[in-house]
């Protein structure tokens, strides 16, 4: 039982980070019907900005919770700006172009940031400092650190904040309107361009937070770190129903748990089926993606939208 709970906690912690990332994908897809491949690189930039900010503020030798919060805010600002620029420069000119063009551009931006990042930051991994003091905790039979709890807490707080923005503010209403029907929204007087920009900014801010949280629990960061978490977060967004905000959160958690338990049942799977299931955990996540898209493309919480001819 203890082991089960331990795995549960691990899965939820990782899942929260995926959830934060997935939110960015899902919001952008909702308003633009575009898969923003570059989102995973915003996540990476968030982690690196946090790294440099932490060192600039001398947090490695002087860890504090306030410092951690400051670092995160700095990252969020930088990434928000980056997301804004990304949209303006690379996506807005292509809004009326065929969708394939924007997709390819998104891929191009993603790769540009990855390899450009290698040039700017250097290809060697860097190690995120411990920005506030770390301590081990024992909750019953489950061993964890305050970092893991911090991650879950911050992620939940941010997600709650996003829910509030999306469902309780005018901006959120406008965002939902744009994702329902772009033309009607603009006809209703909603400044669609601005809304879209804000959506990107919001998504990027969450990605920056995710990057910092990731850096906390998995200190090794390098310019290519966004690729796999980004892909998995995207799978999570699709799983939950792309365009659906609560869906992305649910999807993120589920993917985190699937990854965790794939490894957990490995000894049993090896004994029963002679397959090291744990080694295929990446393939399992992609297989989930394929299965969802084939059997239930609207995802778990999405609505089935018939295609109008």
């Amino acid at each position: 039982m203890n082991t089960f709970l331990q795995h549960l906690l691990n899965g939820i912690a990782t899942g929260s980070i995926y959830a934060l990332l997935a939110l960015g994908y899902t919001m952008v897809y909702g308003v633009l019907k575009l898969i923003n491949f570059a989102h995973s690189e915003i996540f990476m930039v968030g982690a690196f900005t946090g790294y440099y900010a932490a060192h600039a503020l001398g947090l490695a030798s002087n860890p504090s919770l306030l410092g951690a919060a400051t670092v995160m805010l700095i990252s969020m600002t930088v990434c928000g700006l980056l997301g804004f620029l990304n949209e303006r420069i690379a996506y807005r000119p292509l809004r009326t172009a065929p969708r394939i063009t924007s997709l390819i551009t998104a891929m191009g931006v993603s790769l540009f940031l990855q390899y450009g990042g290698q040039m700017v930051f250097g290809p060697d991994p860097k190690f995120f400092p411990q920005v506030f003091p770390k301590s081990n905790l024992q909750l019953g039979g489950v061993v964890t650190t305050n970092y893991q709890l911090f991650v879950v807490a911050v992620a939940i707080a941010l997600m709650a904040g996003l829910q509030w923005i999306v469902y309780r503010t005018r901006f959120g209403k406008a965002m939902r309107a744009v994702s329902h029907n772009f033309e009607m929204a603009s006809l209703m007087g909603i400044p669609t361009d601005r809304i879209i920009s804000m959506t990107f900014v919001l998504g990027s801010v969450l990605a920056a937070a995710a990057g910092n949280l990731y850096g906390l629990v998995y200190p090794r960061i390098d310019p290519l770190m966004g690729v796999f978490p980004g892909l998995k977060a995207f799978v999570a967004a699709v799983l939950g129903g792309i365009g659906n905000v609560p869906g992305a959160m649910l999807g993120g958690m589920l993917i985190g748990l699937v990854e965790e338990y794939a490894v957990a049942i490995d000894p049993w799977a090896w004994g029963a089926l002679h397959v090291h299931v744990g080694r295929f955990k990446d393939a399992i996540v992609f297989a989930i993606l394929v299965a969802i898209l084939v059997f239930r493309p609207s995802g778990l919480l999405g609505r089935y939208e018939p295609e109008k001819v």
Partner: protein
Amino acid sequence: MTPKRPSLPTAQPPRREGPGPLALSAIALVALAAVASGCGGGGDRSGGAAASEVVVGEYGSLTGQTAAFGSQTHRGIELAVDEINAAGGVKGRTFRLVTEDDQSKQEEAATVVRKLISRDKVIALLGEVASSCSLAAAPIAQEAKVPMISPSSTNPKVTLVGDYIFRVCFLDDFQGHAMARFCFNTLGARKAAILRDIRQDYSVGLANFFAEEFARLGGQVASDQSYSSGDSDFKAQLTAIRAAGADVLFVPGYYNDVGQIAIQARDLGLTIPLTGGDGWESPTLLAIGGKALEGCYYSNHFDPSSSDPTVANFFRKYSDRYHEAPGALAALGYDSAKLLADAMTRATDITGPAIRGELAATKGWAGVSGLITMDQNRNPVKPLVVLQIQDGKISLRETIQPF
């Protein structure tokens, strides 16, 4: 609804029939001939050695995934080359090193080795650290009869490619078996857990060799988990290992993963010692792993703190020049270059086959990483050292002779 998007430019008008296959191949021929004549001449012009030099090629991963390893090896080789030239070169000729970066990719390794051989006309090759790159390049060197010395590829298959391929490090089977014996005999472990890097041939090989020897000695492998290098989260695997109740955890991965694994293991309350192979070797291992690595052990090619004059000398010269402590990779790089120069000096003339012959005949050559004698598969018979991490410092625990 999203903004209205047109599809790609509209359908084409009725097409003219294109040229038939005859014309197509004619186009292809012409194009190729153009490329060929444009570039073909270049082949003879560049590269080649002046009579007063000996050109040796080095290929390594100076960028990419394993950039840290390639760069360190390169520094060791560079140091050796400068010393060789300062001492008068090889038979009076300057030892010129041409270095190419393979970006940690196998395809690139093959490309740059071909370039080194055909364009730069190197007489011998040094490289690579990663066995996968060595395996990609070795057939090319073998075919061109260019002797190749790998400083640190530990996969047994590398030297089996041909009789022109050598190495100066021990093999994974010896390393894995030795660490199994260490865990069983010295640490007294009876139940071992393994956490292998499924993406690295090196790690998988070592894990297999460890497991087979540990079982042969009478121990039990209680848990065999895996991760992919580049993964950040090992908690799932470590939780499963914790549940299996092992006495020791064998982690035959690379240092940057190992550091994190150790930290996460301690975070989960796993207190058993971690053991590993020479992939742990790095000046930054302790910086990454910190206190989590206390009481852990790993095998290596040489003991950097040894008071043996050869080792101490090398250590001093390297640290003076590069302002960092040399790791095993630097030592092996250094040894590979020095051994090559020595073989060239012993050889009757500086040609591929003669150098090869002398390399194969190497006996008791004193390198920084130990005494090297080549066996019939062109692998050196050398001892292995087990290093321990105690009080934040690395020190020698045991030396294991070849068995």
